[in-house]
């Protein structure tokens, strides 16, 4: 019961704190507008390069829009604690780390879903992308799974925050890797073999592919393996993230480097 309370209420409070005083204006200018402007940039870049149609970039960037709040939101769960000098208190508490950090990942997942849906909906209107009615429910499932997958890598980013102070740098680096490697803006067929192979193990790659096929008229059954692969990638990152949180916490306690990392 305690763990359930930590997981739900603790996670919610932690996430609300990210947006200081619950100001919706901060949310709009930090998350909703940049996700759209980023997408528009890549749509026009794609039109310049004549590599793929608008739907390719709209689907890919709407899905990767879930990554930014997950990466930075999760990293802030550690960086924010350090900033307010409460990280040591968190680490010495007997609370289950899985409940604490997994709880903090739930609002990030929901946020990722909201941002993805918002970006996809507005961008579809802006660029005249037709989404078939039968694709809406499978598309929603794809977004949910991709948001979960992004939070998986966000957990890993949070764990790095226990070891390195510059979480924003690491988060940006991961985001840039996704923009190039995950087939969001450059089709995997145009990347060298090692890059497209690496992409198979990254969040968003399979989700974006599934979303594109669904927008193109494919059925749920057709894209189910892709959604499954995205879920698997996400689960692997969640396990890696929780493991590295334990590892880096242990290392920080041993070296007394929690506040100085």
């Amino acid at each position: 019961m305690t763990n359930l309370r930590l997981l739900t209420i603790g996670g919610l409070i932690s996430y609300r704190a990210l947006f200081g005083w619950l100001n919706p204006f901060s949310y709009v200018i930090t998350i909703l507008i940049p996700s759209l402007t980023q997408l528009a940039f890549f749509v026009y870049l794609g039109r310049t390069a004549h590599v793929a149609d608008d739907a390719y970039y709209v689907a890919g960037n709407a899905l990767v829009a879930a990554a930014a709040p997950s990466l930075f939101g999760m990293a802030q769960t550690v960086a924010g604690e350090r900033y307010t000098h409460t990280l040591s208190l968190l680490v010495v508490s007997p609370a289950s780390r899985i409940a604490v950090f997994f709880g903090r990942s739930l609002p990030a997942t929901i946020n990722g879903i909201v941002v993805s849906v918002w970006t996809l909906a507005i961008a579809a209107l802006m660029f005249g992308i037709h989404v078939p009615a039968h694709a809406l429910a499978p598309l929603a499932s794809t977004i949910v799974v991709t948001a979960f997958s992004c939070v998986g890598i966000g957990l890993f980013n949070a764990s790095l925050g226990l070891r390195w102070r510059e979480t924003a740098v690491i988060g940006n680096l991961i985001l840039y890797v996704l923009l190039i490697f995950a087939g969001v803006n450059v089709p995997l067929s145009r990347l060298p073999g090692w890059m497209s192979t690496l992409a198979q193990g990254l969040p968003v790659t399979h989700g974006a592919n599934a979303a594109r096929q669904l927008i193109g008229g494919a059925s749920l059954g057709h894209v189910l393996p892709l959604i499954g692969a995205e879920a698997l990638v996400g689960a692997v990152y969640v396990v890696i993230g929780l493991s590295t949180i334990s590892l880096f916490e242990l290392e920080a306690r041993r070296g007394a480097t929690l506040e100085v990392a």
Binding site: N23, I29, P34, F41, L45, V51, L173
Partner: protein, 272 residues
Amino acid sequence: MAVTDQRALNLPIVRTVSLARVVLFGLGLHFKMLSRSPFDMFVVVASPLIFATLAYFLFQNGQGQSLLVAALASGVMGIWSTTTAQGAGALQTQRRLGILELLVASPTPFWAVVLPISVAISAIGVYSLAIGLVYVRVFYGVAITIHEWIAFAVSIPVAIGAIGCLGFLFASVLVRYRSAFMLGNVFEWPVWMISGLLIPVAVLPGWLQPVSWLFAPTWGMRALRHSTLGTGSAWTDVAVCIALSLAYLVAGTLALRFFLRSARARATLALT
């Protein structure tokens, strides 16, 4: 004797030299400080690498000069990125450090304190340009051939200065907002998009073109492109950059005066 000294200090030439010294010293100091910031260095190093790589894979049939221009564009993106990421929130940083009120209360005009910070933030973007060029040369074998070296060499500091002055305007307008940092970030992608960096303006909706003329990166990139390829007069673009810089400076100074007076009257400088 003391009265004579005071009169000497008030001479326009003495004041000008004194202000120039403050601005140049501040520029050097902040440039060195920013060059040691992991976050700022990441922004200026990563931007050219990421966007030059994207350009390479997207424009695979474009060779040589188009990749060279893409490298320059990626460099300008880095300059703009650091300006939006840090420039708009420059005064918030001083507030966070607890020295904003001291700086405002000092006898030095406040614009002379803020301007070097803003220009230094853009100036570290010079790393972006250098890294972009070295990257395409080393990894993609692009020859660095510049059609007009003098115009190119002049374009770089003028473009950086103009973008820095725009950062100064942002910082001045946003001095009363704690969320200045976030507000600045809103401009990152749109200006990358409309300034003709990697995306030709012709691809964009027509109404966006006049909007792009208001932003220094548009003219800075044009100056770099024209001096590199020899496809037009870079000197015209340099002149527009200088004119825009002056406009940003005047607007920024007026905005700073207005918002500071308002903040001081309400005693909200540290609290806004």
